[in-house]
């Protein structure tokens, strides 16, 4: 049976989107699971029935350096912006898009306004999560890497995702400028960069889960 190239290409984008979503969802589940597992282990080692979460998180905290933390934060915000640029700038999977607000989208600062608004929204979400009580520090995105030992190479990779995500944003912006025309290569490349960057950003979680299994 002959394989239709265009069908394959068309299905790549939804498949990549699904992969991205699963990658992030499983990372969130594994992150909570990792910490719960260590929490239980700590109680066993200390011969206690239960160790308070606040003490547990305090003991688990590892300083990752302020520059790395800032770059990681930038990478996560950029991930937000890149996702918004890919999925909300022009209609791809969702039926609505920024192009529906044609006056703003076509204005001289339309693209910057969109990106900055999304970044601000991401910043607000991070700040909101940061205000969660000590018992829920596992949900604070800014302290995500404080619970994992991260090698220098991994830190470099996480830092480099900022550049990859910038390229993804630029590619999505290009797709926006040619709308309603499409550029499948640009869409796929932007998505690939997004998936790879997301993978790198959550890699410490997967690595920890993998090592724990071993």
């Amino acid at each position: 049976m002959p394989i239709d190239i265009s069908t394959v290409m068309n299905s790549l984008f939804p498949a990549g989107t699904l992969l991205l979503a699963l990658l992030l969802i499983f990372a969130a589940i594994l992150h909570v699971n990792n910490l719960n597992r260590v929490h239980k282990l700590m109680a066993v080692l200390q011969h206690k029935k239960e160790v308070s979460k606040a003490i547990f998180y305090k003991e688990m905290t590892i300083s990752q350096g302020s520059n790395f933390t800032a770059l990681a934060l930038a990478a996560w915000i950029m991930l937000f912006v890149a996702v918004a640029y890919l999925y909300l700038l022009v209609p791809t999977i969702l039926p609505f898009s920024y192009m529906d607000i044609a006056e703003l989208a076509s204005s001289i600062m339309g693209f910057a306004i969109f990106g900055i608004l999304v970044a601000c929204l991401a910043g607000v979400i991070y700040l909101f999560l940061d205000k969660l009580p000590q018992d829920h520090r596992d949900l604070r995105l800014m302290e995500l890497y404080s619970f994992y030992s991260i090698s220098k190479n991994m830190k470099k990779m996480i830092s480099i995702t900022v550049i990859a995500l910038c390229i993804s944003v630029l590619l999505s912006a290009y797709i926006g400028t040619i709308f309603p025309a499409h550029s499948q290569p640009a869409e796929l490349l932007s998505l690939v960069l997004l998936v790879v960057s997301a993978g790198v950003l959550v890699m410490p979680i997967y690595k920890e889960a993998w090592e724990a299994r071993r």
Binding site: K58, E59, A102, S106, S146
Partner: protein, 517 residues
Amino acid sequence: MLRPVAVILALLLIAGVSQAGEVLGGGDSSGGGDSGPSVSSGGGGGGSKQIDIDRLLKTIQDGKKSKPAKFEELRTLLWKDPITSEEYQMPTVLMYYKGNNTTVSRNQPLEIITVATNNNPLEMRRMLDLYLEVKGPGSDKYERINSWPEKIQTNEYSETTNTSLRIWGMLPSFSYLKNVGDARVRVNVSDGVNKWSTASYSGLKPPYYSELVFNVTNSLPVMSDFDVIPGGLVRYNDPIEYKANIADADGDLLNVTLHILDENGVELKNETLNVKPGAVSFKANEYGFFKEADAGKNFTYYYSYDDGIDFISKDPADPLKGPNIRKGPKLSVDKLGFSSASENYYWWEKYGFNLRAKNLNPEKYDVAFTLSTRTGKNEWNTVETKTVRIGPDPVEVTFNNTKPFQVTDAGETFNYRVKYSEYDQSGKDAMEQMGVRINGKIVPYSIYNPVMVMNLVPMLILILLGSFFMERKLKKGIEAHESALGRNGDRKNNKQERKGKSDGSIAGKVLKMLRRG
């Protein structure tokens, strides 16, 4: 006439005419129904039957029309003479009118009252039937106003004065009269035995009358607010409209005639409308008042009107001015077209529009041309207006470098129209054509455009700096760890060490923020 019928009914009801019930009443036997009172018929051995009073009445009424002979036979059979007595006194029935002024306009509200005095004891009284009659101006006979008699029942009289009255609401005014002059009003009375008229009484003093005599006058219709629109100089085929208001207190249907005069006061045309009081309008184009040959002429006008009684032959007395028809070109317009900066037809591009015009007459005139565009079902959007002198030689009217479209027009097919201040060879004042589909592209910049660079590069830098700023404020890199371990002292020392390394400028502060690690 109804008295015998009432007697028949009463007898039928009292005597319980079961046969009639069976024949006339039909088979409705529901005694407890909601169709009004019912009468039980005398029962034989086969159960009870009931006669519905409404059906009985209807059957008798139908019988009166369809079988008048049978009806008369029934009436004769059941007739019962009114109670007569030598002591019976004839009731006194008089007209009553409160006002002094008997000169009334046709629409003036009237209150005509009839007062009846019956000094007989209650058991001797007879029901009175009253008929109102009016003799109009110029008429030689009275016309009955009410087809059914107004009845005064025996128990309706005041116990103290033995009087009863009727206000004749069916004659609220004399607006129905088509003539003016004396109108006489009287009442004919019947007590079942005797018939007489209020006019038979004499020697009465106001407010009692044997007959009411009114001097009925007519209200003249009045016209006002004369106008011709549009004012000033107009073209012969402009939508010229003569407007005015006409009022008539009597509310009559009015005949209004517009008279159009030429510069010498000679009547050229007239047109009549049959209107109700209110606004009057004559549209020149509808009646073809003016022709091309009238260009350059000034006209005057006046109205005449009547309400069927009075006729006003000229209003206003001096004819009013208008319209003043101006001379103008007889345009010939063609070759309406457009051009675009590129074949892509983007919404942000500049477009050019043009048409060719000339005057079919030898003169030259200034003509205003207005370009408008629209997409879909939107309103026309005026783009540009320009005035061009048009003579017998063809002139190219161009609208160059226009930006007629908005981003919301992207993806829509556009139409364009040029409207001119004169009429063309087709009698129209505009020419319209369909354009092409505007490209659906929304963003007017390519990714390499400096505008896009100025959008994206600062945005990415801002996100990066913002992230650093957030981290420095929240101190998550060190603080999360140090605050957890309680090592604030070292951090304070480091902070002091770094303090001296950067100056106070914004760039210095940014560098300081980025250097910390």
